[in-house]
């Protein structure tokens, strides 16, 4: 199961796992879009969502959205926002080749 996630995650520089009807996922993908990133968005079903939650976030907080940059897990909304305010998200995206300039 996690191999599938890992495989999907490395398909593109930025991969976001979302769930249908998740409005926070919409917020994160909107932010990435705003930054000029073309992220691959995959909707996950209930089981996979639970797996994600368990593995990635240690059960705390919502499983989605889960953001991978350069095949590596970055985190959930909290992490992405914090990184962005710290000015570290954009450099990370650039390093992964998701952004130019």
């Amino acid at each position: 199961m996690m191999e599938r996630v890992a495989k999907l995650a490395s398909e593109r520089a930025v991969v976001v796992f979302t769930a249908s009807g998740c409005c926070m996922c919409h917020a994160v993908t909107a932010l990435l879009g705003d930054l000029g990133v073309s992220a691959a968005v995959h909707e996950v079903d209930g089981d996979m969502e639970r797996e994600l939650a368990g593995r990635l976030i240690g059960g705390r907080g919502p499983a989605v959205p889960a953001v991978f940059v350069g095949g590596e897990l970055v985190g959930g909304t909290n992490r992405v926002m914090a990184l962005h305010l710290a000015g570290e998200l954009v450099p990370m995206l650039k390093r992964a080749g998701a952004l130019w300039l």
């Binding site: 409005c23 926070m24 909304t77």
Partner: protein, 481 residues
């Protein structure tokens, strides 16, 4: 104290401060023996003493009222003259919170006959009767006080009853009975004053509580009666708890601001200043922790912003201040800044703006989704059929709301931390001062706005309670001057 003259005061000019429903301002025409016998002058002596000294200016005006009233207020006459009895030297002024009290009057020798008639009754019963009449004629919410005074009077009556011949009380005698009685007068006066103080405090706290309760009721009403019994009470108690904790946080914060201010003024060394600044940042972290807990328990309370002052509510974004706006306000206040710092802050502002925009979009999607759910099925035909289903769906979606408020608070927290990182210690101190002062001004604006003088419209149901509340304190504040 003026007890030494109380026995003879009836023969002098005397105030008739008849607080608590004694509407006749009585002159003290009664012969000394009578009213002392009947009314336990000590009881009224205490009342008199406690009440009279803020109304000396009314003495002249009272004359006419006393004559007007005397005819129909025989029991009051007796009571009143008792109050009139105690002419005293000037004890310290007491709190004038009952400006509508009748005025003092110089004694007018008219009621004598009435009172004499009363006095011929048996001592105990006449005393009790007049007292009860007096108390029953109370108007306004002072029955409590009256019953307290009643207690005093009854105490005094017992004492009075024990003293043998009241006819001895003529003129300024200093016989042992008089001395004892004067001492009792003093005691009663002191007790009266203490009770009055306690009563006033009770009133004030009740008033505050009432205003708070009215707010809570309005809040509960706006949250929708749909919630029914248990959930509603849960949320409102959680909300009340949060409000209280927030108020405490504000108090604490105020103190830290003062500390920061002081530290800057005395040019504390950076090491010490840093400690204070770091503490302030930690204190903000506590606030966000508090709000996060509240978001999980009752997100509506946070997002509607009723815990914040009205002016703050005006600018509310997802349950708090908008970080990019705050940064915009702060930037000019923090001069001088290095170019690098300015760039850093501008970048922070831009990032925050982007994050805010993303969150707002997400919230907008939630709104739309909720609206669709609410309108699901038919709102008209067979509306009941789809009701519960839609409600269940909506409840599920609502839980997402928490996430947004928590993320918004996260943004705020990150903004503060980033500013702390970018700025020097001194600049950071000034930054926190600026933020604190800005919110302070918003709160002050709210208070000023709430207490501005205006007509109280009784017809305005929603506000009239609060309006009345707001106007009254102002009036009371100034009446003392």
């Amino acid at each position: 104290m003026g007890e030494t003259s109380s026995s003879s005061s009836h023969s002098r000019q005397d105030p008739c401060v008849l607080g608590y429903g004694f509407h006749g301002a009585m002159g003290n025409s009664i012969s000394p023996a009578n009213f002392f016998d009947q009314e336990g002058a000590t009881y009224f002596g205490g009342l008199e003493e406690a009440l009279m000294h803020h109304t000396p200016r009314r003495t002249e005006q009272a004359t006419t009222t006393s004559t007007a009233h005397h005819g129909d207020t025989t029991p009051f006459a007796t009571a009143a003259t008792a109050t009139a009895a105690t002419a005293t030297a000037r004890p310290p002024p007491t709190l004038d919170i009952f400006p509508s009290w009748p005025m003092r009057s110089p004694h007018t020798p008219k009621e004598g006959s009435n009172v004499t008639a009363d006095s011929t009754d048996s001592e105990g019963s006449s005393k009790n009767n007049s007292d009860h009449k007096a108390s029953s004629d109370q108007q306004g919410g002072v029955a409590n006080m009256t019953s307290q005074f009643d207690q005093i009077s009854q105490e005094q009556h017992k004492t009075m009853a024990t003293s043998s011949t009241h006819s001895e009380r003529t003129g300024k005698t200093l016989d042992p009975k008089t001395i004892r009685r004067l001492a009792q007068n003093r005691e009663a006066a002191r007790k009266s004053r203490l009770r009055k103080k306690a009563y006033i405090q009770q009133l004030e706290s009740s008033k505050l509580k009432l205003a708070q309760m009215e707010q809570d009721i309005q809040r509960a009403r706006s949250q929708g009666l749909l919630l029914g019994g248990a959930p509603c009470s849960n949320s409102s108690s959680g909300a009340a708890m949060f409000d209280m904790e927030h108020a405490r946080w504000l108090d604490d914060h105020g103190r830290r601001i003062v500390e920061l201010h002081g530290a800057l003024q005395v040019h504390l060394p950076d090491g010490d200043l840093r400690a204070i600044v770091d503490n302030t940042l930690t204190h903000y972290d506590e606030l966000f922790r508090l709000k996060a807990a509240m978001a999980k328990s009752d997100v509506f309370h946070l997002i509607t912003g009723v815990w914040a002052s009205p002016a703050e509510q005006c600018f509310l974004w997802m349950g708090g201040f908008r970080p990019s706006d705050m940064l915009k306000t702060l930037l000019p206040q923090l001069d001088p800044l290095t170019e690098q710092q300015v760039i850093g802050i501008c970048n922070l502002q831009q990032s925050s703006q982007q994050a805010e925009e993303a969150l707002s979009q997400g919230l907008e999607q939630l709104h739309q989704s909720l609206a669709d759910t609410m309108a699901g099925g038919s709102l008209i035909d067979d509306a009941n059929m789809s009701f519960m289903g839609q409600m269940a769906l909506a409840l599920g979606k609502l839980s997402n709301l928490e996430g947004f408020v928590i993320q918004a608070d996260n943004l705020r927290q990150q903004t503060l931390h980033q500013m702390h990182r970018i700025l020097t210690v001194r600049q950071a101190a000034r930054c926190f001062l600026a933020i604190g002062e800005y919110h302070n001004r918003l709160r002050a604006l709210s208070s000023l706005w709430a207490s501005r003088p205006r007509e109280i419209q009784v017809a305005d149901e929603g506000n009239c309670g609060e309006l009345r509340m707001a106007a009254e304190p102002l009036r009371n504040q100034f009446s003392a001057f």
